[in-house]
């Protein structure tokens, strides 16, 4: 991701935006992971059985545990990489919000049934 001076305020920010960008993108990727795993489990019996991490909860257990793991790992990696940098926040925010909005739509059962 390219770097830029993204200050939009007349006041110079005390902190770089890298940490915030890392958290935002990780949340977007985490949300999208949940939606993709939900659809994958719905469409494939192999994936569905692979997602049963805790039998009483069924495939939902694998979906949410994998989502949390992906979200945390992404967050840690991005945080380590970006925490002292100023990054292209406009593009990262747009990607994250698109991922989040898509995820919301992809969890809606009538849309899942289209796949």
């Amino acid at each position: 991701m390219s770097t830029q001076n993204s200050s939009v305020s007349p006041v110079t920010p005390a902190l770089t935006n890298g940490s915030g960008a890392a958290a935002i993108l990780a949340a977007g990727i985490g949300s999208f992971t949940l939606a993709v795993l939900d659809i994958a489990g719905d469409k494939s019996t192999y994936v569905k059985s692979s997602l049963i991490f805790y039998k009483p909860t069924g495939p939902l257990s694998g979906v949410v545990i994998a989502t949390v793991v992906v979200c945390l790992l992404t967050w840690i990696l991005l945080e380590l990489r970006w925490k002292k940098r100023t990054v292209a926040l406009r593009r990262i925010s747009t990607i994250s919000l698109v991922l989040l909005a898509t995820s919301l739509l992809l969890t809606f059962p009538p849309i899942v049934d289209l796949f």
Binding site: L15, S93, L104, F108, P109
Partner: protein, 189 residues
């Protein structure tokens, strides 16, 4: 007056953690907007500290709501019917699916609720982290502030959808069973 253990846990999940989170959401949205768009130079360290604590408490509530929902209440909801069972009252998912008039509460309601609810803790955790990290400096990062507010709104919407669907599902097919807890013994008057 009595309640079953499963009903009590459903109540703690929905009314204790979920509803409290929803109540907290509206306050958080207003305070986040006000705090991060305020441009005067007046000191706001007290408010800053309070809002940080408030957002952390919200994140804890959101995680408790989804974790108790997915790993405690949901297994009772989707429990398989043992052979020879004649009544479906202890098997909410099967009860809903037994009638065309209630089937949608499972196939659409629960199927959506069980996934959409997770956007709430994921989003609010990010919001809390960013606010703790940046505090009042967030007002100098306009794009970051906009994203944080969008995620906070989505968190509220996701929790609202999950909460409404949960309340309706529990109305048509309540989670019941387990040990009976006596809350109050009436003397018959």
């Amino acid at each position: 007056m009595e309640i079953t253990a499963r009903s009590l846990w459903t109540l703690i999940h929905g009314m204790g953690f979920g509803a409290l989170y929803l109540l907290a959401c509206s306050g958080a949205l207003v305070e986040l907007y006000r705090f991060t768009s305020h441009t005067s130079g007046e000191s706001a360290s007290g408010k800053d500290r309070f809002l940080k604590f408030y957002l952390v408490a919200m994140a804890v509530l959101a995680w408790l709501a989804v974790l108790t929902g997915a790993f405690l209440v949901y297994p009772w909801y989707r429990a398989a019917i043992p052979p020879g069972t004649t009544t479906l009252s202890l098997f909410p998912q099967r009860l809903l699916m037994s009638s065309p008039s209630t089937m949608g509460w499972h196939s659409l309601g629960m199927e959506w609720k069980e996934h959409v609810a997770w956007f709430a803790p994921i989003s609010i955790t990010m919001v809390a982290f960013v606010f703790i990290k940046y505090g009042s400096d967030l007002k100098n990062h306009r794009q970051l502030r906009t994203s944080v507010l969008c995620f906070a709104v989505v968190s509220f919407v996701a929790a609202g959808i999950a909460g409404c669907l949960g309340a309706m599902i529990n109305k048509y097919a309540p989670v019941q069973g387990g040990v009976t807890v006596h809350l109050y013994r009436s003397d018959g008057k």
